[in-house]
Symmetry: C2
Subunit: 214 residues, 2 copies
């Protein structure tokens, strides 16, 4: 497991969102945080590391829902069961809080309910954006838009990728080979430059965003 590059970032110490009802937990790489169909009475915040949510099909195909980074909340679900599973991309620290505990939380209650509302609507926005990327085919467009949003999140010039090629493929609805070929092509077109498998920098932002097209 080679998650080092990502975990050794200046792991932006971020705020504990849940206050007194939050419980700190640690997960090793690839460890499961919650499973599909499990009761969804907890909500989570990433403190360090990164998390992915995914849904597995009977025939082995996998759809990744999203990736979550320090500061972000995940685990909000429409129903009372998780429709995706969540697991640690690398070693990570997670804060968990009982959803049902919010109502017995006195002065914090309003703030927490607002927090959950915001996180849920933002989740909706992310999902819509993801949908939009999957809908319009074209491997180049998909990969380019993935790289752009990754780069936007990074503060440094060099953008780290917390996930494997397979993860990217399952996120975009492509095969790992297509993702790899497309990355190679984007690189030889001079739009991005990779430093190892899991770090890259955008060389020509305008060129990249031209591929995406709003």
């Amino acid at each position: 497991m080679s998650e080092q590059a990502f975990n050794e970032l200046p792991s932006s110490r971020c705020m504990d969102a849940f206050g007194p009802i939050g419980v700190r937990m640690h997960f090793a790489a690839e460890e499961e945080i919650y499973a599909q169909e499990e009761d969804a009475d907890l909500i989570y915040q990433v403190l360090e590391g990164a998390v992915r949510t995914s849904r597995l099909l009977s025939d082995g195909r996998r759809q990744i829902g999203d990736f979550y980074y320090p500061g972000e909340l995940f685990g909000m679900e429409p129903g009372d069961k998780h429709s995706f599973s969540a697991d640690a991309l690398g070693d990570c620290t997670i804060l968990a809080a009982k959803r049902s505990a919010v109502r017995h939380c006195g002065d914090q209650r309003e703030r927490l309910e607002d927090l959950i509302w915001k996180a849920t609507t933002q989740e909706l926005a992310r999902t819509q954006e993801h949908l939009f990327v999957l809908g319009r085919r074209g491997a180049c467009e998909k990969v380019a838009s993935f790289l752009m949003s990754a780069a936007k999140r990074a503060r440094s010039d060099l953008t780290p990728l917390a996930m494997s090629r397979q993860d990217i493929a399952d996120y975009l609805g492509l095969t790992i080979e297509t993702v790899s070929r497309t990355l190679t092509q984007l690189q030889s077109d001079g739009l991005v430059r990779f430093a190892g498998y899991r770090n890259f920098q955008v060389v020509r932002p305008a060129g990249l965003s031209r591929l995406v097209a709003a």
Copy 2:
């Protein structure tokens, strides 16, 4: 425009969800209810007819977000601007309410806030399901899952389709030709039978759902 088949359904008179702050409106087929980037201070409920939300790209491609039917709420948005536009699939009656009016709504307030919360989380669930369908490629799977969810919504044996082939294509991320070919194939495989362009019945439910694979 041949929306008759759908509009002449026993148009399930459904409850007015908004009470005193709701305003009844009527839209003709293809008329725009709200536009992309427009302020999102209203929420809507379909009373009669059907509605589609969509997002247009600069190059003409279109992604349909979802279809809404009598009783369902739409127009909830993560931000304060609409990220999709909405328009009438056929002639329809819509109920609209100012989101900001909810807080001045006295005894109804709690109920309305709960309603909006439920609608938003359900919207999230629908979007995730849609994402899931788009992610796993295969025209057959996509079309089959579309037909299945349409059939599940219908009370009658004969399922009406409120939308055109082009709408289905833009919903599933396929071309109209592929949708058409796939429908023909499903029919000649004896899984469904079409009566005209916009009505079908499921002949072998098990066969259809086998194509979808959870």
